[in-house]
């Protein structure tokens, strides 16, 4: 499941306060985590590459685009990067709102370093898992894209559990032809069994149980 050698996971820090930003970099450096720091949400968006694995440590309150607005932008772009918000004492309602919009976690300033590091590690693990399943998803989709229209029809009927004879009647084909299509579907999809084939289809339809 672990992705092959790629860019190392990076903690992206977005905080407009230079001292807080630098201290976070220093803290992460002391535990050997790579960081990239940005002074504003806009600066981060300009430089962010979705292919870069990592997580985002984000201050809720910032002039210009706030942390919540940045989260919204990332959601709109379909980014999967886990976001950990850091908030002040009075910002709990904002943190709750962030969680409702899919934030991974939040922490109140100032925090125990171990709390932050634990959360970062969980967020990076989550990101790796997200990326692995996205990759798997892409792999399956590209395989299914090689199916011919006729093979797709057969696939649909297969996943509904229709017998070859029924399929042949429904599609107006000979049973022998259906068998050939069926074999091609199994071969192209790489599924080892009908059960696995059904799971792949559900995955593509986004209906895979969590």
């Amino acid at each position: 499941m672990i992705a092959p050698k790629e860019l190392p996971p990076t903690v992206f820090i977005v905080d407009d306060d230079e001292a807080v930003r630098n201290s976070l970099r220093f803290l992460f450096k002391s535990v050997g985590v790579a960081t990239k720091a940005f002074a504003s949400a806009a600066e981060f968006l300009d430089n962010y590459q979705p292919s870069q694995p990592g997580c985002l440590v984000l201050d809720v309150r910032m002039p210009g685009m706030s942390g919540l607005e940045l989260q919204e932008q990332l959601n709109l772009r379909g980014a999967v990067i886990p976001v950990i918000f850091i908030t002040g004492h009075g910002d709990i309602p904002m943190a709750v709102e962030a969680m409702q919009h899919g934030a991974f976690d939040f922490l109140q300033k100032p925090f125990r370093d171990q709390d932050l590091i634990d959360r970062i590690q969980r967020a990076l693990a989550k990101d790796a898992k997200n990326r692995a399943s996205l990759k798997e998803h892409d792999r399956i989709r590209s395989r299914f894209e090689t199916l011919t229209p006729r093979e797709r029809e057969v696939l649909t009927l297969m996943t509904r559990g229709k017998a070859n004879k029924v399929m042949a009647a429904e599609l107006g084909l000979s049973q022998r032809t259906v068998e050939i299509h069926r074999a091609r579907v199994m071969e192209k999809s790489g599924a080892g069994s009908l059960a696995e084939l059904v799971r792949m289809v559900l995955d593509l339809e986004g209906e895979r149980p969590a």
Binding site: S23, F26, S30, P63, G88
Partner: protein
């Protein structure tokens, strides 16, 4: 009471004694009124500061967070053999700098909260603004906004009570920031100083919804407020302060939208 006692004394001296008593009473009630006014200003200033507590707490939290992060990172680095002294020193210097930063925040707040007597001194109004610039940024941050200063390159001095004028500016900025809450996207508030004839103007400009003519008409009415929890005293007290300086506080719509509050103060040479 004093007048009644005096009535019983020599009738001949009655007239002048009465006058004397009346004058004394008037003086004492004037100074009482003056004291009350002074206390009211102080209370109003404290109220403003109280309302700013959230911003100040947030602002103090920043250096504290940085200090905690550096200290904990140092602890980690030291627990390993061969810790880099240069790296540790860098962190220690930052810790010291952030402690000073926290101290500065508290000092600025104490200056503003202190109950000082009237202290009118010749002042460059630019410096009156820049002295509280950090406090204003703090306040702006709470509203996700930015305060930018557009200061005239050189201003002749005016005779002002710096803290009182700063209190007025704070009031106006707070109002402006609250108006900006209604705006999405970039929220910016401008403080502009300029020489205007024989006066100096400090303008606080926002791009919020502005004032309806109804509200503009009543803005100096005590206890009139458009805010849910407003005291309705901010603008009336600000107005009183500016007028006591021989100046004027005015509202005009900002183009293309928003509000512009202008504090006009006479130059020292024209005071």
């Amino acid at each position: 009471m004093a007048a009644n006692v005096l009535m019983k004394s020599d009738p001949k001296s009655n007239g002048s004694a009465l006058e004397e008593a009346a004058r004394r009473e008037l003086q004492s009630s004037e100074s009482a009124a003056h004291g009350l006014h002074g206390r009211m200003l102080h209370v109003s200033r404290l109220a403003t500061i109280g309302e700013m507590a959230a911003g100040v707490a947030h602002e103090l939290n920043q250096p504290l967070t940085a200090i905690a992060n550096y200290a904990q990172a140092c602890d980690r680095l030291l627990s390993r053999p061969g810790a880099d002294a240069g790296e540790l020193r860098e962190a220690l210097r930052e810790i010291a700098a952030q402690a000073v930063r926290a101290g500065d925040i508290i000092r600025r707040l104490r200056t503003l909260a202190g109950n000082h007597g009237l202290q009118r001194v010749p002042s460059d109004l630019n410096s009156v603004v820049t002295e509280i610039a950090n406090l204003l940024q703090t306040e702006a941050r709470v509203h996700g906004a930015r305060v930018s200063l557009e200061l005239a390159p050189q201003l002749p001095s005016s005779i002002v009570d710096r803290v009182q004028i700063q209190h007025v500016i704070l009031n106006l900025v707070r109002n402006g920031l609250e108006a900006l809450d209604a705006v999405s996207g970039e929220r910016e508030l401008v403080i502009r100083t300029a020489l205007a004839g024989d006066e100096v103007e400090i303008a606080v400009i926002d791009t919020g919804p502005g004032l309806t003519s109804d509200v503009a008409e009543r803005m100096f009415d005590p206890f009139f407020s458009t805010k849910e929890n407003g005291t309705g005293l901010g603008l009336p007290i600000s107005n009183t302060i500016v007028r006591a300086h021989g100046g004027a506080l005015r509202y005009r719509p900002n183009q293309p939208r928003g509000a512009c509050f202008s504090i006009r103060l006479p130059l020292e040479s024209h005071a």
